[in-house]
């Protein structure tokens, strides 16, 4: 492997590769910043461009679009609470609160630096450990995936703000919303109420935009009119200081590790990595009560985690030919169109080219850092717009994003429904993140569970607990982790109650 790396690394240092990667990063940021316009959509549109250029230009270009897109999704998440991509959901927990405090630029800078660090570190890790990572990834099958999803759901629910039982209720509702449509195994229609638009299920992005963006708009307009016509502060906000970045460095390192591990497992992806990264940061914090109220670590954690997925997610793709998500499925198309056949033989036949692409991916992170830093002042100016204009613009972008996702008018009604749902949930003190994660992971969990049942051939318990040690370990860890998180929360509750008593 080392000789392949030595042979391939110099291939990445080309002017045309740098230029195309720069263009890719910029396009990715712009598309990612537009709600409803996903990175997957951008990749699908730009994929044909890669056919007409050298693989060392075309594939790094597409990878650069991915990097830019994941960061770009954090921009509307921070500014107007609209997640530009699913990976930016967790960024909406603290981003808008920081914007309200006049710290939007700081939040975007933290998102950029955390993303760049997470992506770079995991890219370097992937470069040198691609072989061992592939050996571990191949051991993860449907039983392991189902167990990890169950653990992730419980951890995210236990880490959510508010009462645990209410979080579980939202998780169950999310699982219900996720099963509307066709079952992932047999394609049987479920809970469509004979309404044809629901046959393909509830669409993800309109739901996300509705549940996160519209309640913010409703809460802004429910205040008296004076607040709406008053001018915005007129300044772009504080800048991120080195001390603040250093304070969050441990969180960024942890989240990078989480993203790298999750990225290597097919089927997991940026959304899960961001949520688990956020939950882990909150649980590890000495002041978890600050999360959700404008805590800068709440930006660093999910952004480092979701970008750290980018490189390891290529591992099952390159070594086994298994695309883990839609993005890597499109990249698989790019590889095949350029004459590269992902799989066990790829490194043997074209190893230097593959390492050249991986090195280009590391270089792309530096370009991403520079270009992202230059675009931040442009986006930061959004908050200087008066609210009486900003709110209608937010509504229009939310509606456009919801429609553009699948060019389906029904999605607008989904947006409005979940806007009302999200607004009511916030007023009744429910945290929405368990609902969203249940919605996203429910179908994946059911599919993995179905496959596990098929594999077990009738002896489910014996198959899981005897033949799948990783699954057994994760299932055993789930109640332990839940108890530990509950105990920590109970301790914090007692300390807070004692502080309040002391103040009286």
């Amino acid at each position: 492997m080392w000789d392949l790396f030595v042979a391939g690394a110099p291939l990445a240092f080309r002017i045309d590769t740098f230029v195309m990667m720069s263009v890719g990063v910029l396009l990715g940021i712009l598309v990612g910043a537009l709600p409803g316009f996903t990175t997957t959509m951008a990749l699908a549109i730009l994929l044909p461009l890669s056919f007409f250029v050298d693989p060392l230009v075309g594939i790094p270009f597409l990878l650069a679009v991915t990097k830019g897109g994941i960061f770009g999704g954090s921009i509307p998440a921070i500014l107007v609470s609209i997640p530009g991509t699913g990976a930016s959901i967790a960024t909406t927990f603290d981003g808008p609160a920081l914007t309200k405090k006049g710290q939007s630029r700081k939040a975007m800078e933290m998102a950029l630096f955390a993303s760049a660090f997470g992506d770079t570190a995991s890219s370097i890790l992937t470069l040198f450990l691609i072989g061992p990572i592939a050996l571990i990834a191949v051991k993860f099958g449907p039983p392991e995936l189902a167990a990890i999803i169950l653990l992730s759901l419980v951890v995210i629910t236990a880490s959510a703000s508010g009462v645990f039982i209410k979080g579980l209720a939202m998780l169950a509702l999310g699982l219900f919303f996720g099963l509307v449509g066709q079952d992932p195994l047999g394609g049987v229609a479920r809970f469509t109420f004979d309404f044809f638009p629901l046959r393909s299920g509830i669409p993800l992005l309109p739901m996300l935009i509705g549940v996160f963006a519209l309640p913010e708009v409703f809460e802004a307009v429910e205040r008296k009119g004076v607040a709406l016509i008053s001018k915005a502060p007129g300044r772009e906000g504080e800048r991120l200081s080195f001390a603040e970045f250093r304070r969050c460095f441990r969180t960024i390192l942890r989240s990078t590790g989480i993203g790298a591990v999750i990225g290597a497992i097919p089927g997991m992806g940026q959304v899960i990595a961001a949520m688990v990264g956020y939950s882990a940061a909150k649980n590890a914090s000495k002041h978890p009560e600050t999360f959700g109220k404008g805590e800068i670590e709440g930006i660093a954690a999910p952004e480092a985690a979701n970008n750290a997925v980018n490189a390891p997610t290529l591992v099952p793709l390159l070594t086994l030919g298994i695309p883990g998500d839609n993005l890597t499925a499109i990249l698989l198309g790019a590889f095949v169109a350029n004459g590269l056949r992902p799989g066990p033989e790829l490194f043997k036949d074209q190893g230097d080219l593959v390492f050249g692409i991986l090195v280009a991916m590391v270089v792309a992170n530096l370009l991403f850092l520079v270009i992202g830093y230059l675009t931040i002042p442009l986006f930061a100016r959004v908050v200087t717009i008066r609210k009486s204009l900003l709110l209608p613009l937010t509504v229009l972008f939310a509606l456009t994003g919801a429609y553009a996702y699948e060019s389906n008018e029904f999605d607008l009604f989904i947006l409005v429904f979940f806007g009302i749902f999200g607004y009511a949930a916030k007023k009744l003190r429910f945290d929405l993140s368990p609902m969203v994660m249940g919605f996203i992971l429910g179908p994946v969990f059911e599919y993995a569970l179905g496959q596990t049942l098929s594999m077990s051939q009738g002896g489910f318990l014996g198959f899981v607990f005897i033949e799948r040690p990783i699954t057994s370990a994760v299932l055993a860890a789930t109640p332990v982790v839940t108890y530990l998180l509950w105990r920590r929360a109970a301790k914090l509750r007692r300390e807070q109650a004692a502080r309040r008593e002391a103040l009286r």
Partner: protein, 176 residues
């Protein structure tokens, strides 16, 4: 996972016991219990029969099993939520909104729905301009030149950007 131990809402009934009070969480939990029961009852009617070959289903997992599991969990959780509601001390934030606030939210919702109905008939540009103008004026902007400029230019810019640059299909102008 923290119970917010803010002081009980002002509307808490006098003489209520310190450790247990009836509150909005009870009502919400009750609604969730009813929902769970309704969904469990609806499973035989809302889950289509799986395809069968020689009397055996083609998938290992019955399509009705997972929904039953989820709704069962919802029911158990909702019952637990109902039981725990008396000890949860948190304000109902609906009570913090006044009539004017509800009016503003209601008007916004009506505009959203009107846009959703109008979009396929009037096209993206016309409905977008109408939405922008109505909301901008309603939210109190009195600079009519700015309102008109932003209200017209932004939908046009989004339309041309999305359709020409990104290849996204948006409903066309109605008069072509």
């Amino acid at each position: 996972m923290n119970e917010s131990e803010t002081p009980p809402p002002a509307a808490a009934p006098a003489g209520a016991s310190r450790g247990w009070t009836w509150n909005f969480n009870h009502a919400t939990a009750f609604v969730l219990i009813l929902l769970a029961l309704a969904l469990l009852g609806a499973v035989p009617y809302q889950v289509a029969e799986p395809q069968r070959l020689f009397g055996r289903a083609l998938t290992a997992l019955d399509p009705a099993l997972y929904p039953r599991l989820v709704f069962g969990v919802l029911l158990v959780v909702a019952i637990g939520y109902f039981a725990a509601s008396g000890r949860i001390r948190e304000p109902n934030l609906f009570r913090t909104v006044d009539a004017r606030g509800y009016f503003n939210v209601g008007v916004t919702l009506v505009c959203l729905l009107a846009y959703a109905f109008a979009l396929p008939h009037l096209g993206f540009v016309v409905s977008g301009i109408a939405l922008m103008l109505v909301l901008t004026v309603f939210y109190g902007n009195r600079n009519h030149l700015l309102t008109a400029a932003v209200g017209v230019l932004v939908p046009l810019a989004i339309y041309y950007g999305a359709t020409r640059l990104l290849g996204v299909s948006l409903p066309e102008l109605p008069f072509r």
